[in-house]
């Protein structure tokens, strides 16, 4: 226990020792704090429309001004962080779960199934992300579900491949054959032999995918294909700003800045994590 603690502390120190890692942690923590304590920090209700306060300049009352419906932008930006964060966490977790299952099926299943899955992964990857998103929105209609499905489709092939490779490597190793013949279930093989070997790279990849997920959510919401109004999302705020860009450019700035800072924060953190824990993954990004 003590050893694990000091390992964690050491790792944390190493991340902070990298200037970018430190910056990444600060940005990510700020973003998470803003999202979690949005109600406390913002004061104003992100949904409250007040037609008299349309397009107000930034002031002490409205730190980032107001939008075309007179809603407080600062509050909307903080609440938008909630959407971004929850989509990122939920869809990444879902992608990991599905990726692990499909990777195991590809690795342990019969050869033909493996081939089909690999072909399917390649085919999914051969759709440009936005085209995939647009096609899926025709199927589901604009919604948070559509965003999550897109993210899962985009991420699953990568995770499944890692699990598959590891599974295939283990399958040829004798000790798994021995374990299996002794009646160990797939779950046990997974827990004992496969996950310990891949959990590190998998989590690092997932952490590096988070900015991509946030970008997908914001992008789809920007196009009006993701989160439905009036729910505050950074993409939607950016779109409001885009519509009013000639007269009130700060709305676009307010919508874009959190996207920039968050994606930078998670990327710097993810890169540092990778360099500190698993330099082998270098070059994959």
């Amino acid at each position: 226990m003590f050893a694990a603690d000091s390992d964690a502390v050491g790792a944390f120190r190493r991340i902070f020792a990298e200037p970018l890692g430190g910056l990444g942690i600060v940005l990510v923590v700020a973003m998470i704090a803003g999202a979690v304590f949005a109600d406390l920090l913002a004061g104003a209700d992100p949904f409250r429309i007040s037609p008299r306060d349309r397009f107000l300049d930034p002031s002490l009352d409205h730190l980032l001004g107001t939008d075309h419906l007179g809603r407080d932008l600062f509050s909307r930006v903080l609440h938008g962080g909630r959407i971004a964060l929850s989509v990122a966490l939920f869809s990444t977790a879902a992608s990991l779960a599905i990726g692990i299952v499909l990777g195991l099926i590809a690795g342990f299943g019969p050869r033909w199934l493996d081939n089909i899955l690999i072909l399917l992964f390649d085919a999914i990857k051969s759709f440009p992300t936005v085209m995939l998103a647009l096609a899926l929105v025709t199927l589901f209609g604009p919604s948070l579900t559509a965003v999550i499905v897109v993210v899962v489709l985009v991420n699953v092939p990568g995770y499944a491949r890692i699990i598959r490779t590891q599974t295939l490597a283990l399958k040829s190793a004798e000790f798994v054959a021995a374990a299996e013949s002794m009646g160990a279930g797939t779950a046990r093989v997974l827990r004992v032999h496969i996950l310990p070997n891949v959990i590190g790279p998998l989590l690092i990849l997932a952490s590096m995918d988070i900015p991509v997920v946030i970008a997908i959510e914001a992008g789809m919401s920007f196009l009006g294909l993701g989160v439905r109004p009036p729910t505050p999302s950074w993409g939607a705020i950016l779109n409001d700003g885009f519509t009013a860009i000639r007269d009130t450019p700060w709305i676009a700035v307010a919508g874009g800045l959190p996207i920039i800072l968050t994606t930078l924060g998670f990327t710097f953190l993810g890169e540092t994590l990778r360099d500190v824990f698993d330099p082998r993954l270098r070059g994959r990004g």
């Binding site: 051969s126 759709f127 936005v130 085209m131 647009l134 900015p211 196009l223 676009a252």
Partner: protein, 314 residues
Amino acid sequence: MLNYAVKRLGLSVVIVSVAMLLLFSMIYLIPGDPAAVALGPRATEAMREALRIKMGLDKPVWIQFWNFFASAWQGDLGREVLSDRPVAQVVLEQLPYTLALIASGIIWSVAIGIPLGCWAAVRRSSFADRLVGVLSVAVIAVPSFVIAIYALLIFAVTLRWLPAIGAGEPGDPGSQIVHLILPSLAVGLGWVGYIARMVRASMLESLEASHIRTARAFGLPDRQITYQYALKIAILPTVTLLGVGIGQMLSSAVFAEIVFARPGVGKLVYDAILTRNYPLVTGAVLVTTVLFVLINLLADLIVGALDPRVRSGF
């Protein structure tokens, strides 16, 4: 080389076919009756029935799929709902705009990214190298549509240096190029980072190779060693990367076309979704997918042509 090309082409055909299957299952799964959607609420049941038969929706699934599959391979993507024009024609009209946008994005990324990566590799571990590294990561991380909007805000709205919307006057290349600058920057900027990183890493690797030591031992000038002997090897993974990258650039192009109100396939699909013009959506998605697969194929063939080891090893 021919053998390699044929194998690679076969793989592409399979991938496109699987993509078609996915796309078809998607259309098939769309809730609601396409005929009803197409004709709107005021159509009579008889009109819907007639359209259904015309679209082949009364036949069993597998025949529908076969028809879709066979006609798609022949270039027939059906007719779009609103104007009843062939989907393929509508998409092909818009394609050149998107291709021009992506090509200019590639020009940005290659013209800046390759020299930047080389420059950083030669100055390994210096401050300049670190700065290039951080900037590369930063431009990769920031989503292209945010770059597009900020570029619009800064260069078109605030500074008024460049035009904000449209693709320029038809028949006036000067105006068309000026209208390309901002959208293509938004499309290509992230790839400046990717390419700079990739070139830097592979340059460092190829500068370590023993044939580089041989070249030095023969007194070849450093410039020739760096920019000819090492770069030609370092560029190979970059070409493959670009092949994959064009898919992402297609994504960025959709946003750029919407933000800068440019004609193009991205704008076409977007508008088609808003008007529920499903044949147009599937047609355009299919065309871009084929395009993407073709470009990947092309990238692999270029690598094959540049690297004699690949074509004989395959």
